[in-house]
Symmetry: C2
Subunit: 134 residues, 2 copies
DNA sequence: ATGGACATGGAATTCATTTTCATCTAGGTT
DNA sequence: AACCTAGATGAAAATGAATTCCATGTCCAT
């Protein structure tokens, strides 16, 4: 029925897998194009959207609201700590938050509760290091 | 130096105060306009942006990425549980999450860590009510 | 009232994302 | 092998929030 495994989709998947950190659809498209992989921007967006729906990727939004995607490491969903300077991302243990979210759900009577948690900071490598005046 | 208290700004502030829940800049603009308050869309955006920078409002993004603003109830920042159906929002106690975020900060060496937490669900009033068979 | 610093807002611009739609393709069928 | 067709593709156009331009307006001190 759905989902043929086309050359294009495979390329998007592979491109995504090659990224350790979060990438935007635009970046991924540029990356693939630069790599001489012929894929349409529309297809990149479509594939990413489908992946998101299927739960194959984690998604965050950067400051400008642009969607950033990252292949999901393991089973359940993951939360990340992202460096605002270099963009490097690392998954963080969020068990506490999951429990908290469940608790809120139970306490409020709301159903189908979903949560988004985004952490950003400056990683050790991007620290304003040597206070070189100026 | 900055911030004259102009009629327009006051109107935006007042309009925002009159909203119990989150509103987008566009909605607020429409609301003010409908109220015969002459304010430019640009000014609404500007005022909201300034408010955000000054920490006077809490901001979330809806599914489409649109920014939604809500006057901040009290002191520190707040997290909310928003109904995806009617848009009603209620602040939730997020002490646990704050602690967790601090802990992550300490454990990773990242500095200037900021966090965004968004909860959404279906409130009791919007429940798919009568389970009219399948 | 005069000057200038800041504020305003309509129009134009930017830019990610989505739609449209004509065309192509995979892969099953005869 | 030739054929069919649901699904996939992608260039171009559309959408829409948010921002930038910039000419004009407004408040305040001198």
């Amino acid at each position: 029925m759905t989902s043929h495994t086309t050359r294009q989709r495979a390329a998007v998947l592979e491109g995504l897998a090659g990224c350790k950190d979060f990438v935007s659809a635009q970046e991924l498209y540029a990356l693939l194009t630069a790599n001489r992989t012929r894929v349409g921007l529309t297809t990149v967006y479509r594939t990413l959207r489908d992946l998101e729906a299927a739960g194959g990727v984690d998604v965050v939004r950067d400051d400008s609201g642009e969607r950033l995607y990252r292949q999901r490491p393991d089973g359940g969903h993951q939360h990340y700590l992202i460096c605002r300077s270099c963009g490097h991302s690392r998954p963080v243990d969020s068990g506490v938050v999951e429990e908290w979210a469940d608790h809120i759900t139970a306490a409020t009577g709301f159903t189908a509760v979903e949560h988004t948690v985004e952490l950003s900071g400056i990683c050790t490598g991007c620290q304003p290091s040597p206070p070189k005046d100026r």
